[in-house]
């Protein structure tokens, strides 16, 4: 009976040591590998509208970003005005954004500054499309990381027709269009 007991104690110690080492290795590896978060590659996004409708949050974590250094400060802004706008002014009937999230401010003739009200933006990308087609492409979509809950499988990424979603390190979570980026919201 004795040798058998000895044997099972040794086995127990062996298993415990393996579990301990395995756990430690897993913990170190987890700490070493960077935490990843979801982000949109602006070069791949085709502004399909699903960023507004497919996020698990009631209002999407995707928002419009503006690269001011790329903007033409155009009077006839393709991102602000509807294609069939009757005037170049702030009239609701002329605005492209479905939630009136873009503010237009006169700077000096003929320049206007456009800023995004993040609370109103639903990430539909309509303005992004208009700006890309007719302007300099200074508007683009990004996942806002103070809002995103970082689902292990992003619901928008699953529905994205352009494969524009990718995982990026949480330490560098944005794919900005310009390194002179200044976001005013």
């Amino acid at each position: 009976m004795k040798p058998l007991q000895k044997q099972s104690r040794r086995d127990f110690l062996r298993i415990a040591a393996a579990a301990l080492f395995g756990g430690a290795a897993w913990w170190i590896a987890r700490r070493r590998s960077p935490r990843m978060v979801w982000q949109i590659d602006p070069e791949k996004c085709t502004q399909c509208g699903r960023c507004a409708t497919h996020c698990v949050l009631p209002v999407s974590a995707v928002k419009c970003f503006h690269s001011y250094s790329m903007c033409g400060y155009c009077d006839l802004c393709g991102g602000y005005l509807r294609p069939d706008a009757h005037g170049r002014n702030t009239g609701a009937e002329n605005q492209l954004c479905p939630t009136a999230a873009i503010r237009r401010k006169f700077i000096e003739d003929p320049y206007y500054q456009y800023t995004i009200d993040e609370k109103l933006c639903i990430g539909c990308g309509k303005c992004v499309k208009g700006c890309g087609l007719f302007g300099n492409g200074s508007l683009y979509l990004q996942v806002k990381h103070d809002l995103c809950v970082n689902c292990s499988e992003c619901a928008i990424a699953r529905a994205c027709p352009s494969d524009a979603f990718k995982l990026v390190p949480a330490s560098d979570p944005y794919l900005l269009k310009s390194n002179q980026e200044e976001r005013i919201s």
């Binding site: 502004q47 399909c48 509208g49 699903r50 507004a52 409708t53 497919h54 033409g72 400060y73 155009c74 009077d75 006839l76 802004c77 393709g78 294609p83 069939d84 170049r88 492209l96 479905p98 003739d109 003929p110 539909c124 990308g125 309509k126 303005c127 499309k129 208009g130 087609l133 007719f134 302007g135 300099n136 619901a155 529905a159």
Partner: protein
């Protein structure tokens, strides 16, 4: 035997249940974005067929991909610029250049003027480089035109037109804001800024942010202008259009737009004469359509997306 049958039936039942569960769990339960969330220029894509007065004929295909610039010599040859090369049609001549030209012009003597980002190289008839002009370090040259006396260069970087004599001297700036003289200044949000010389020696320049064409004397005096903004067929869409234009022998304008790619002809007073090619004749995402017209009224369109010079001829009545 019956045991095998039972096992197989259970296997298929389980497979069916698992597949249905997988389909159910993965099915898209979210509504597709409605019309309100999608940007569309569809209503402006359609052009009344009665307005289209041109038909497309066989294109010119340069030996290199990515053509970047286009010019027609007064004697009719077509010059196409691309990566480190300018190709001449129909001669087949290939001129080596140090980079990709952003713009080209050829004068009566066959002298070639090639604009690169911030300098112009002038090549003799023997294709020897004989002059280099560099207006400014900040220059972004987008168009060149020459006549027997002057070289004009449109510089989107400085929002100016530079005028030199044929030896590269006597430079003046055209288009600086001067309210007293009625010059509002060029407003160039993106690098699309074109010019051409009229038969009377004056120069027409696009003021793209205003959707305008402005006419200046060779001394830089504003003579006249016209403008028309809007997505409708008689206007210029977006924030920097027309992206390119060329003057026809009768003084009318062939214009090319970006965003809503279309090529049209406007009368000398700016009113719409006809359409050469509508948006459905181009790839939706094409930018940088350049245009030129020859003395017979044929329209040449540089289509960078398709890597061709597309040619349009007036429809026969």
């Amino acid at each position: 035997m019956s045991k095998v049958k039972t096992v197989l039936s259970w296997f298929f039942v389980i497979l069916l249940v698992m597949t249905s569960a997988w389909v159910f769990l993965n099915r898209n339960r979210r509504a597709e974005p409605g019309k309100n969330y999608i940007y569309s220029t569809e209503e402006f894509q359609q052009v009344d067929p009665a307005l289209i007065h041109y038909v497309e004929v066989e294109p010119l295909v340069p030996s290199f991909g990515n053509p970047s610039s286009l010019a027609i010599a007064p004697v009719g040859q077509i010059y196409v610029g691309g990566p480190n090369c300018v190709e001449v049609f129909p001669d087949g001549e290939k001129i080596q250049v140090p980079a990709t030209p952003t713009c080209l012009a050829v004068d009566d003597d066959g002298i070639l003027f090639a604009g690169f980002q911030d300098y112009i190289l002038v090549f003799s008839k023997e294709r020897k480089s004989m002059l280099c002009l560099s207006p400014s370090k900040k220059a972004y040259l987008t168009s060149i035109a020459v006549d027997e006396k002057w070289i004009y260069a449109a510089d989107a970087g400085n929002r100016r037109v530079w005028r030199y004599n044929k030896e590269g001297g006597n430079p003046i700036e055209i288009g600086a804001k001067d309210e007293v003289k009625g010059v509002r200044g060029f407003y160039v949000p993106s690098p699309f800024f074109d010019l051409d010389i009229a038969v009377d020696g004056s120069v027409w320049v696009v003021n793209p942010g205003y959707h305008a064409l402005e006419n200046y004397s060779s001394e830089g005096r504003l003579i006249s202008s016209w403008e028309k903004a809007g997505f409708n067929i008689d206007g210029f869409s977006g924030c920097c259009n027309p992206a390119h234009f060329a003057l026809m022998p009768d003084g009318s304008f062939v214009t090319a737009e970006k965003g809503l790619p279309r090529v049209k002809i406007h009368n000398p007073d700016g009113s719409l004469r006809c359409v050469v090619a509508g948006p459905d004749q181009f790839d939706a995402d094409v930018t940088g359509l350049d245009v030129a017209a020859d003395l017979q009224g044929k329209i040449y369109v540089l289509d960078p997306g398709r890597g061709k010079i597309r040619i349009f001829e007036k429809k026969k009545k």
